[in-house]
Symmetry: C2
Subunit: 361 residues, 2 copies
């Protein structure tokens, strides 16, 4: 979308004034005046976040009609998308409607995708309510659903007209969800988003409110990357640091019925991929040690068993079955800068997983 | 899609040399060399058009893997899209795969939509095999599926990297299908695509091959319009001339189990909307008479009965239930130029339908 591409560069509003700024947006005003807003919640955010949003954004106007989907990754499927097409129609949505996604990554992925295809595309606003949503999922215009086991197999690059990142929503989160978000912050620190692991450590042991500065830095960093490479032809891949191995770890433990959070899996992936960076790119061992220390301080050790490594490796190759077999994780070069053209072998990955296993036992 | 938007301006190849030009396209060459092409057919085109395509395009290389869907409008649903996501994955499709849609409007609508969302968007080529496909559906980047009774309720604006319009495919068509295409040519003549009804009359009574010049003119005209207004904010709406009433006629007769072709319904819609243009915009009656003559010469009279008019009106308002009730067909102004900001009443439409009914009885 041409119009839409222009929008992403400066569409993110952070801090307690974000909703006032949203209300000043002429597109929002037109839609609000015409009662052309529709909310999307999941079963959690309807209960925990909608009351807060009512106070912060809809005091005067009343809350727009709300469509609610089941919370959880299982909702990321075509069934939900078809349901949303019908629900939007039933609520009288037109090409001028703005869809307002209130929730974490699942809600913004689904809602963004639905907005991108309803009547060939309507505008949407993301209001991320989780830490992962605020620093990652809700920004950058990637939308999508899963098809069978293939994550985000169907989706679009389609940018929200506004993203409102309000710190109060983080107070609705359980500890595990905040910890999961910490995995993504860990990633940003490692790939150079102008804050150190030390700063992150200090803040992570503090209240959620103190995270605001870090969140802004992550958002700015991601915006910078996405502006340069919106459709992930190259540079944007650096945002996947930790995720090649991390995703496989997540799938593998889920498969063993020992589910771990996305953030914990990504944090583990970061450690394995940092190890590979030392091994293959002569990255300094000091950074690996620092990262390992941070990891052990903030994340539960993973329940590695005999066979876990083979299972993770299996998931990495299963995920890649269609790309001629090459595994291309993001690694750090010897100066610590992320690079996205690495190619590694199964043996390399096994070494990384063994390092990970060794430090968590 | 930014990359994609750049592509539409000159992506249409017409005539018997079109496949040679496609083979000269570097994007095509790269994908062909890597066996990264996948064909999409429907149950008709697999039988009737694929053998021809083999001779014209794949003599040296062999035919790529082919996914076949059921022919017919019923395939335009989420079930087919999900099936295609899985089938593309099973055929090893990557972000570099080019999907080649061989068929009429249903195939290019579905295939284009699938291409626009598979792994957040892959390239595709349209090879339209019907007259409607060649002059309308396959060009202009509109993709989509139906949701329940709502036509094209879900879709994208997403442009093919190439459209190959080869005259030989028209010879595979039954007479009714060619006649249906004539409805769209009728539209182009009426809205000013640099050929007259008289020329169209002469050609329509000739062999399909003689239509080539007219097809090129339609394609150029649509390209011109789409380049100026790709996402139908204004100007592009003129391409809907005849369709507001035509679609309702199509739905209404289908509902009465007296199905008429899309082209015949659009042709009837053109007559009714031309009548409205005389009635409301002082368009010259001479043009209405000329159009009426052309219509009666080339289309079967519609089986109007008592109640048909009310039924058509019902479908027009049903279609519009969500747009605050205004009906905005494209009309011709007093100089015969299409305009897209007209607003008409139910009474106006009834008058148009009565005129249509009167000339066909």
């Amino acid at each position: 979308m041409m119009m839409n591409q222009e929008a992403y560069a400066s569409n993110i509003l952070t801090g307690t004034t974000c909703f006032g700024m949203l209300q000043d947006d002429p597109r929002w005003q037109v839609a609000a005046d015409r009662n052309d807003l529709i909310l999307l919640c999941d079963s959690n955010t309807e209960k925990l976040c909608l009351p807060l949003l009512r106070e912060l954004l809809f005091t005067d106007s009343g809350v727009p009609p709300c469509i609610t989907i089941q919370a959880g990754e299982e909702s990321k499927c075509f069934g939900t998308i078809e349901y949303l097409m019908r629900a939007l129609d039933q609520h009288g949505a037109t090409r001028n409607t703005i869809l307002v996604n209130l929730g974490g990554g699942v809600v913004s992925d689904i809602g963004g995708f639905a907005a991108s295809i309803f009547k060939r595309g309507i505008c949407y606003v993301n209001i991320p309510t989780t830490l992962i949503g605020q620093v990652d999922a809700a920004i950058g215009g990637k939308t999508g659903i899963n098809v069978g086991h293939a994550k985000n197999q169907a989706g679009t690059f389609y940018f929200p007209i506004r993203v409102c990142i309000h710190p109060l929503f983080l107070e609705t989160l359980p500890e595990t969800e905040l910890n999961s978000g910490l995995g993504e912050l860990f990633k940003y620190a490692m790939i150079g988003a102008s804050f150190s692991l030390k700063q992150l450590h200090t803040l992570a042991t503090n209240t959620p409110g103190a995270l605001n500065d870090i969140i802004s830095k992550c958002v700015q960093y991601k915006e910078f990357i996405v502006t340069k490479d919106p459709e992930e032809s190259g540079l944007r891949k650096v945002l996947n640091f930790g995720h090649t191995i991390g995703h496989a770890i997540e799938s593998s433990f889920l498969d063993m019925r020992l589910p771990v959070t996305h953030g914990a899996a990504v944090a583990a992936g970061i450690i394995a991929e940092t190890y590979l960076s030392c091994h293959l790119n002569d990255l300094s061992h000091q950074l690996l040690e620092e990262a390992t220390g941070f990891y052990l301080d903030h994340f539960q050790p993973l329940p590695f068993e005999g066979g876990t490594e083979a299972s993770v490796l299996g998931f990495i190759y299963q995920d890649k079955k269609n790309s001629k077999g090459a595994i291309n994780p993001v690694l750090l070069d010897k100066d610590g800068h992320p690079e996205w053209n690495s190619s590694v072998t199964a043996d390399d990955i096994l070494h990384g997983l063994r390092y990970l296993s060794s430090i968590t036992h």
